[in-house]
Subunit: 267 residues, 2 copies
């Protein structure tokens, strides 16, 4: 990805939105339409649009699925229907099965997070991959799991691991999207609204006025501590990262507080 | 945490399961019992047990909530009920609000993942923290957001960001659990020295004193703007994340500024 003129953001956007480049989600023998709808909603939230259903109990179309999808199907299209799991994965090169139990099959097991990183790397190499989820009652059977390459486990509270199908899909797809699109985003940004951050000069002007008025009010009781006190005060105000507008408000507060000359402190 | 004989896994397990050491989840004016139940289920999946409800529309007990919890309430106990958001966060030192919009309040915004790392660091320093979610229809109002320290955003498909309340809780709690139990935690930012962060109750006491003295000084020129002015002021001071010691210093500054009755402002 290095060496091009395209930004990482542009590449990430493509990775998320090109249906050919995102993982397929396959539900094998899903029962409740609600969970199919929740799956579609979870997928589209995470930029995925390629949904396959293998032998859905109630067929398709399914009004309960559409009701639960929050409009996802209208944007991503109807799911593809298959009678056979093998057919649903025929064009894929790596298939991940999400299952709570290892069922004695010797397969590599990855956490959802580790799997997401693995998926992104494979997609970047041009692989088509699929994420497979079993039905509500029995999950995936051993025959199906045997066709998968890797197992995904979602690490949860050992004393209470209780995800329904839609929730499991959401967590796995969410991890994929974080890995694909958002890994290198700066963690913290503080929107400052309309007002720009105060300039250092204006901050100093405010700080000096505050110091002067604190001095007049007898705030600095011992001269040798004044320097430390001011440093701590500066650290606190700097941490606040005030905007220009906020510094004007703080000026107004000083004016208001020193104005009340004949009033009583209400502490 | 280094230098002991206990495994990282043992420490992580403690961090997850001790109710005193896990984040509190607060739902403000939740409407549907189903979402309260889904919240409890999501929490317990991620090792969280401390649920507060502020003015739940349908009161408590709520049969729909219990039905949707998959038995979570039986293990974690009933939620605590509060009439007032301030009371629900009074003993917390850092409060995270999950909201889709920034609503023009200047607050740091963290991704759910970055927030999780931040939470773990704070908990390791002994802080009590809370995760706040608004009701289904309107989310959190600006008055509530102004009382929070940091905003959490869940990065999703910009073309389709559609999480219900239970799903949002699941993703935020999931990220917490991954950070707390399952990852190498890059430790700490912003060491606060000897002094712990101020409690919300002590912060309120300070804020009320400041407001009272600003009122006396004629700071609030137009009555209809007072509410907005106070909200912005609260946002600014909350963003500073003052320690207990710093709040004492700020009290001292108010005292000093209102003491200088016969002096002249040196602006």
């Amino acid at each position: 990805m290095a060496g091009t003129n395209r930004s990482r953001e542009e590449e990430a956007r493509d990775l998320c939105l090109d249906p050919a480049l995102v993982p397929r989600v396959i539900l094998v023998e899903p029962q409740m339409g609600e969970n199919i709808g929740a799956t579609a909603r979870a997928m589209l939230n995470c930029g995925l649009t390629d949904l396959y259903l293998v032998k859905p109990r109630d067929g398709w179309p399914n009004p309960k699925a559409e009701a639960m999808s929050s409009g996802a199907f209208a944007k991503m299209g109807d799911p593809a229907l298959h009678e056979d799991f093998s057919a649903a994965i025929a064009d894929c090169s790596t298939v991940y099965a999400t299952t709570a139990r290892s069922r004695d099959l010797v397969k590599p097991v990855l956490t959802a997070r580790a799997a997401a990183t693995d998926m992104v790397a494979r997609i970047q190499r041009g692989e088509k991959i699929a994420l497979v989820f079993g039905g509500e009652r029995a999950g995936l059977d051993n025959e199906d799991i045997a066709r998968c390459d890797l197992l995904i486990t979602v690490p949860l509270n050992p004393a209470f691991s209780s995800l329904n199908l839609g929730q499991a899909v959401l967590l796995v797809c969410y991890e994929w999207m974080q890995a694909a699109c958002l890994e290198e985003n700066p963690a913290i940004q503080t929107p400052t609204g309309e007002s720009p951050p105060v300039t250092k000069a204006d901050f100093e002007h405010f700080f000096n006025r505050l110091e002067e008025n604190l001095e007049i009010g007898g705030y600095f009781k011992e001269d040798n501590l004044k320097r430390t006190t001011l440093r701590n005060l500066r650290a606190m105000l700097t941490r606040m990262a005030p905007t220009d507008q906020e510094i004007r408000s703080l000026h107004g507060m000083i004016s208001a507080l020193i104005r009340q000359r004949n009033k009583v402190d209400h502490e």
